[in-house]
Symmetry: none
Subunit: 329 residues, 6 copies
């Protein structure tokens, strides 16, 4: 064997990574600060209730009167934004999700309180019908069980206005109806919220198998059928790109990919096409479970792996990560 060729200068990577500080210069855009995290909160009808969620160890649902205490310590540690979900008793549900805009809606009442308790906290409200409808679907249905898209987006716009009036900074439609961003923006503008409320679109929400614990937490599983007729097929890059083009044309202020753990290729592509829009990602309940249980079994180190995941999400293009782990950060 003769002499081994030496590699070209430019192909020597070790000289760029032999030291911790040098390594850090290779990925400076991956930092996580409090601005990069948004905390999802489940709010129940019963104001005094605090309900641990058995399928998501460490996470609870809160009544209005238990919220201030829970969030205060987080805000003190720097929490900058929350995403609110309503968890509604079946008794209040009907075909149109009337409770979503009623005075007694726990989320609407919570927004008012949160604005006064934490004046600097950004309040985002998930906008959907599934938590409020008797059938558990995200839109208003035709008699044959299919979606009535026009009626649905009108109703979603009404819900958005209710949140805006209550004081939400951001409305975040997660329903995946066609045209909802335009409908919401139109109604926001007619109500003079056009330049005062932002719309965070669940742009690429896939029909994933990772939502199980969440549906438990939010009591929002559909009573029949599934959501594959409005959420995106998991194999489809193309529909994610079309959905993003749609939402941007209709006026979205920020975009979201959900779930994120196995959709980071989608995040990368959306951020590359639309670098001018802040990119949100939602680390869903199934992802939470995967990390939690593997760590509990000793197979991975929770802190190290969580740090690696958050850095990786930033690397792939995420600006803000919606995660239950905000609690521990």
């Amino acid at each position: 064997m003769g002499d081994i060729q030496i590699p070209k200068n430019k192909n020597i990577l070790h000289s760029s990574i032999f030291n911790k500080t040098l390594r850090s210069w290779q990925g400076l855009q991956c930092d996580i600060t409090t601005r990069n995290l948004m905390y999802p909160v489940f709010i129940v009808d019963e104001d005094d209730s605090l309900q641990p969620i058995s399928s998501m160890p460490g996470i609870s649902r809160f009544g209005l009167n238990r919220l201030k205490e829970h969030l205060s310590s987080l805000v003190d540690k720097g929490l900058q934004s929350v995403l609110l979900f309503g968890v509604i008793n079946n008794a209040f549900k009907d075909e149109r999700g009337t409770h979503a805009t009623s005075d007694k809606n726990p989320v609407l009442r919570a927004v008012l309180k949160l604005r006064s308790w934490f004046p600097d906290l950004i309040i985002a409200c998930d906008v959907c019908l599934c938590a409020y409808t008797s059938h558990g679907h995200c839109g208003i249905l035709e008699k044959d069980g299919t979606i009535n898209n026009a009626a649905s987006i009108k109703r979603l716009a009404e819900v958005s206005i209710a949140y805006a009036k209550a004081g939400a900074h951001i409305v975040a439609p997660s329903d995946m109806m066609d045209g909802r961003i335009a409908a919401i923006k139109q109604l926001l503008r007619e109500n003079e919220f056009g330049n005062k409320v932002a719309v965070l679109s669940y742009t690429a929400k896939f029909a994933s198998n990772l939502y199980g614990p969440f549906r438990d937490a939010s009591k929002s599983a559909p009573a029949f059928g599934d959501r594959k007729c409005y959420q995106l097929p998991i194999e489809s890059t193309g529909l994610a790109l079309r959905a993003a083009a749609r939402d941007i044309e209709e006026g979205a202020d920020m975009l979201m990919v959900k779930p994120v753990l196995i959709y980071m290729d989608i995040v990368k592509q959306l951020k590359s096409r639309y670098p001018e829009y802040p990119m949100f990602v939602y680390q869903v309940s199934g992802e939470y479970a995967m990390i939690h249980y593997a760590a509990k079994a000793g197979a991975i180190d929770l802190r190290l792996v969580l740090t690696e995941i958050l850095a990786s999400l930033r690397r792939s293009g995420a600006d803000v990560i919606i995660t239950y782990f905000t609690l521990r950060y």
Copy 2:
């Protein structure tokens, strides 16, 4: 409120997804067949041994005499390729990893047998020194504990030749030394294997926290220090791109990204830049654990989530997935 604007035709996505077959047309490149899976196998010094790996429930290490039975049923079900790792007793380890090229090396002996037992099975051999060195690092060290790159790549080339002579179809260097692909290719060509043995480069192998169970399985944790001076920083897209450019310039036949679960943005970018190279991804032991334990706890459905993950990996650009779950597929 006036009439809600109707969305533009092109922004109506529901008409493309209201039916299962239509949905399937959105992601036809995501199929999984036996050609898309490669099965990693750990081979131990003791030929009669069968050692379940406690940190990877369901996965075992095999002695040479236990291998045929285990693989036969898989081959019968269509298994097309394996990736072999040696698990070596400490007694055989030294500074240069001499055992890697000795006649008694269990992998070398296994290759010979596997070629005769399963003539159509593709045999890939992981090429590294860490399983064979007393210090557990992937290269030969200087006295100060840093890597001697020139000596390391020469030794890795020697190991590759040994596998080639034993009959391996593919050598897969996982060491992350600079210039190893060129060194291996040079020696393969000098030994007339230039057109008969392929090199599958672990191009983007990150210094991840998801390797724990594997190191247990392969008994290859370093005795001191870590591998951050040669594996890629987890935040760095740039070094992954430079590493791929390097390996392709040096002659790699296929590329690999490892781990893959939170590196799918990297897979996407490498496949987009180099569509002409088959892309392998390695679903590592920590990923196995996350899926296994979350399913065991009932938070996710193993089969559905595994299917979603494999389809997503294909969507992101992976051609072949190296996974322990091949067993169950």
Copy 3:
């Protein structure tokens, strides 16, 4: 006048900026942490000396014995890296810059000390001849006063080796000779520093009028002529692009633009073309003066403007900023 048309939804920007947190989401890649700052330090021959620089109020030159105290407080506050310059008495200067590699060179002696005092501090050394040559030019001259490029890059490589042997993590050639990166890398590799010392190239160093105070600080003005035959013309984007292509081909680990204040278009273009290379920028002495004196006169607020400048540099693509203001950060 009829009704004014209302703007399109996507053209309403106010809904993305009406609140501080929302605004922050528009520029998350602009954070400044200690990893983003490198501190330039002038070291004089007289070990006990501490010389305030009159043309750069607040900045001093230090002798070896005054260095530890000055840097300790900065390291305690998080300082991660320094860039060392020698300021040499004329008595030690000659045609070839012999003192640059002598045992008495204050920078070489400082590197040794700094490694022991601050084991985690990254030591970068500016590599040039101008501080050491009697004629004050950055290379070795022909008899007619023009540059002998071959002799110059050989000498610069020798100087780099001296720094590497003393313990520098980074050598940073600022001379702008053609081929110096390749020459330095070749010699580093022949001396087994190939994977242990990084080369930070002053890739786009312009023949600017903003270096005045620095030349005062480093006593490095040329005795005759100027540097326009080797530094880049200020109007030339093209030569900056060619210089970056050259340095990357020759093996640079990181790139630099200098000065930066009015060269941010160059930073943007180089970072866009070569995102895989960390981008350094040097906020030079004239920039320091412009900020300092305008603030002193009350025309601008130093802290606010400095913060705006640093954020803007990050926005344009800078990863690490070499600035005298590190002192105040």
Copy 4:
């Protein structure tokens, strides 16, 4: 040490810069002629007044009767265009900025005069409300102090028409309201100025800290709050791109970036995306101060540095530079 490799031919840059004429060929697009400069002029209510601005040494505010003399010498030297600002006594200010369109408005009266005195001089008028409103904000406010965007852009269109009728060639809205370009263009067309008055949009006006002396000069600081809800966040490339897309879609004839000194990356990107639109940049008062005071302190040479800055602005893509230094050019 062996022989140093010689650099590749194409990597020798010195052969392109060893001589002054050769260097000049590298940046021919950076010339500054009178067509590349626009001169900002402050006009006060008192026609006989000439008020030196203490925070901008060398610059004054002029009453109508002092304008002809001041501008005559500049026009004789080649001045081709001016940008007019009104500086209004508080007594004339109200909530809607009524004085902006009154017969007594000094800018409107000045336009008429300037057209007759200097028939070839291009007259551009800054269009905003902040100099005319009692609250000092750039739009009409809601009761809660936020912007009423619809009312604001209607008012800005009215102001533009007033300038057009007086004889302005260009109206230049600096307010940063959404939709103002479309509103102004609509009204211009309804009044048959559609092909006779150009709109120069302050497209990317950042909420910078460099406006201090200007606000002093124009007496236009807001009475409460700041302008961060309508001017662009300094970290945001994305909103600058969205603003340019918006203004071009709405009909802008030329674009502007303001300030420019640390926003040259933005200039470069806008000019690259929209090369068909003339790019204006505004060298603001804080930039003037930085150059002025550093030169006064002897740290930089005013003429050399100013020349370098203007050439650099041209290099980055600026066609016309709005600068107080036009005076000295």
Copy 5:
């Protein structure tokens, strides 16, 4: 007929061109200064000769003793660069063009004089063999009349060195042999002119029918055959692009297109691909004739059309224009 639709705001172009200054902002990169012009000069063997060229009215050939007077007035008016051609008596011609490097070569003697007479004037020398060979071809021929490429480029490199030694700043090979740039650069570097002499490559020299008067002027028509085997086919964009890639790879400092009048699409494409290289264009003798005779016949206005042509050349990407009309500019 109903109402005609009004055009969109952005489609109204008149508002950008209704005034002379506004129009000028649309094409600021088209200025012509003395730096944009290079003057071609024919030098004859007879030192006292001044020979008007009948086919190019207004242009003459000069002997060494008539040169100073002719050029002095042009240099006084700002002339910055000349391109020298030798016009050789047949008596001095041979197969290898020996006279090109002899002491008596009028161009070599002229370079020495010009450097002393006009120290700031850039001297470029056309490098070719056709003026010196008995057969009138641009290279050395095989016996069958085809080009011996290797011998030709070696000879061209020798000629270049002769010009470099005489003091030329630029050598400009017009021969269109393959590999001549590399050969010339290699020899320049071996003679230490590597960073002191620039190479201006006639990159895209087409086999045009517009060279007639020049061949008359330079007495360089081939004795047999034509130059279509080494000059580019007039229809070929592809070979022009390949030639530019070739010359840049081999080290050219600047590029040229010749002729230019009907090759402006080529100029545009080369400048777009290689913006980092100064682009020269040669307005050849046939172009001169077309302008001259049409003006003489009163069909066009010489000054207006010449101005339009020069501005158009700049618009298409030309940095420097080599033109006989420099005389009248």
Copy 6:
């Protein structure tokens, strides 16, 4: 001197051009057939007149009764298309160009005849007002002499309809008013010519100095002022791009660049952006003169140069060339 390096294989161009057929393969898209030529014809009021144009030797104006004979021989030789211009006696001119749509208009009468004489000949009609207005401008004027754009485009649409009704296949508006394509298309559609008449837009018609002989030919010079407020500035690439975007958005079927000789960079860019639109170019009268007079003086060979020019126009992207030389082709 050592051995000269041999050029890389890919840099040897001679092997692609040493033979005529090989050369022809380099530019196959440059052929000229009768489909690539359109012949411009001037038609006068006096039906029996045949008027040689003194400033365009060889070209004449024809009365209706002289047309058939002249065109018959051309049609026999393959002529496929003509572009008709009216040359009108001053007596018939007024402010609105009434004669353009009168029954006596010689072009309208000619169209009818030509359709019957030459059923396969494509008839295109230049659409403008300048030949018909007393002031000689291309639109209807305001009292102050500026263009009334709305009235102009309405009138141009009326003229187009007249040509359509007479039987023209193509209307070709040359006026450069904003919005004329949309206006013409609207009226064509209202008259059911929407799918039967094509619009060939003079998209990029520059305010050139090459129109002199044509204005003589068509008696269409403006009585006062010039056309710089509606024709494009010669330096402006940007407005040509905006004009093409405008015309395509408004419905143009084909695009034109005029003149072409020094605007081939514009042709190239428009064809690259809009390859889906046939590109016409107009070789104007000044170009005709330049070729004619240079050939007449013996400086160029008419046939060879004309062939080179036509091939070059095709190379730059022209599909159809409108040229007076069609006569000789």
